[in-house]
């Protein structure tokens, strides 16, 4: 769905005067990240298949790039989009105070309470501008996972030039497992994230129109 299509939706039109939940820079970086991340995951699966770490392979119907060489070209192209967009997002998140306002403080008791409420289907979504404690924890967690997948990826790409980073991740072979685990965490997050966006459509609308 495009932004224009969303704006012509009557459900959305009557809330046009509502306060902005997601400023433009959040929405732009969010969707660039979505594109870059899916390209990285799809091509990463194809690369994984060339030398699987576990006893399974990803279907070539869902992996990107046709063969290893094509997948590597996609992976090492999309990495720039992912990294540059990620740096812009994190920098703006810190400089504008958005991270501080939205993600902190995270209180363990609230996390437990909101998690239980969510499982019971009783978690309120009255104000999309305020994240519940589970959301805060997940969004902070996925940010840190993004840092881990980027750095473990660099340590696999450059185990000689950045050998200290590679050592930090336990050496070349272990870094591959770390990179894979981070991908798994991101895919798991995506499943929950997309499911919840579908269950609470106004959150998707907010990420498209800002309101």
């Amino acid at each position: 769905m495009t932004i224009e299509a969303a704006a012509s939706n009557p459900l959305i039109a009557d809330t046009a005067a509502a306060p902005v939940i997601h400023p433009r820079w959040v929405r732009v970086t969010h969707w660039i990240n979505a594109l870059a991340m899916l390209t990285m995951i799809g091509s990463g699966w194809q690369i994984y298949d060339a030398a699987p770490l576990f006893g399974f392979e990803f279907s070539h119907h869902i992996a990107l790039g046709e063969w290893l060489g094509g997948a590597l070209l996609w992976h090492f192209a999309a990495m720039w989009l992912l990294a540059i967009n990620g740096v812009v997002y994190v920098a703006l998140g810190i400089l504008t105070g958005r991270f501080r306002r939205k993600l902190f403080p995270i209180r363990p008791r609230e996390v437990v309470g909101d998690f239980v409420a969510a499982l019971r289907g009783r978690l309120a979504h009255d104000d999309l501008a305020v994240y519940n404690a589970v959301q805060k924890l997940l969004y902070l967690g996925i940010l840190l996972t993004g840092v881990v997948i980027l750095l473990s990826g660099v340590s696999i790409w450059k185990p000689v030039q950045f050998q200290h980073l590679t050592s930090f991740f336990g050496g070349y072979n272990t870094a591959r497992y770390v990179h894979f685990a981070a991908m798994t965490a991101i895919v798991a997050f995506l499943v929950v994230h997309v499911t919840l966006a579908v269950l609470v459509p106004k959150s998707l609308r907010a990420m498209l129109t800002g309101r």
């Binding site: 899916l38 990107l64 060489g69």
Partner: protein
């Protein structure tokens, strides 16, 4: 990356993609985005009814050349690849090629010569006994394959930078090109050729290089991916033009530094 087009009425975009793919010559089809059509990722780009193979492939190649420059810039000519104790050598060290082990070149060491060419003062070819007499260096380093797996091996031979100086190579030239017995080839950048661990390898684990690992000569480059380590080498040219290589020409990144 993509061209935006309005869908043509009555035309299945997926079939169009297939037909377009048939028009492309075989080598350039290899990156064609078969996976992309079904990948949810690019379904996001639902405006793109036709993902143009040529356009995206050209863009990806341009970015890959950019990545070559980034890697050349990152390459530190003095940074050594980590070395390992003998106990960590992978045994058996894997044979790896685009053909099976019994299809590997079976070279007669008595007749073999290393041909030297290009920007070099002394172009006389080298025989194996002559090469065996040169000062030997040794390394136990990690071979990292483009596929992702890695193995630790032990290689002995002549430091390539010493050999290049010995034959009067112009080390201001940009590239060194290697030709192999089975038709394989590689071009490497001069800074990598001059790296202290880049080796004209004659032995594996202190034994004459076996056929599986590239007899009689392999070029061991622990700062590059495995496919940039040619085996069964028959010729070495110092030159200013990039002659490409077997896999590089099919889309693997040219620099492929570690």
């Amino acid at each position: 990356m993509t061209r935006l087009r309005k869908p043509l009425p009555g035309v299945d975009p997926k079939l169009l993609i297939k037909d377009a793919a048939k028009l492309l010559p075989e080598p350039s089809r290899r990156f064609f985005l078969r996976g992309a059509a079904s990948l949810g990722a690019l379904a996001v780009l639902s405006g793109c009814d036709i993902i143009d193979g040529d356009t995206s492939e050209n863009a990806l190649r341009v970015i890959s050349r950019f990545n070559d420059r980034v890697q050349a810039w990152l390459f530190d000519p003095n940074k050594l690849a980590p070395e390992y104790p003998e106990s960590m050598i992978t045994r058996p060290f894997p044979f790896n090629a685009y053909y099976s082990q019994d299809e590997a070149p079976d070279i007669d060491g008595d007749k073999w010569q290393l041909e030297i060419g290009g920007l070099v003062d002394n172009k006389a070819p080298w025989t194996l006994p002559e090469l065996y007499k040169l000062p030997e260096v040794s390394q136990i380093t990690r071979h990292v394959c483009v596929e992702g797996w890695s193995a630790i091996g032990s290689w002995q031979g002549v430091r390539l930078s010493d050999f290049l100086k010995m034959i009067g190579a112009d080390t201001k030239a940009k590239y060194v090109w290697f030709q192999c017995a089975e038709g394989y080839s590689n071009t490497i950048d001069m800074p990598t050729a001059l790296h202290p661990q880049t080796q004209l390898t004659l032995k594996f684990d202190h034994q004459i290089l076996p056929r599986a690992y590239g007899f009689p000569v392999k070029i061991r480059i622990p700062t590059k991916l495995g496919f940039k380590n040619p085996k069964y080498v028959t010729a070495m040219w110092v030159q200013n033009n990039d002659a490409g290589g077997y896999w590089e020409n099919q889309g693997y990144n040219w620099f492929s530094g570690l």
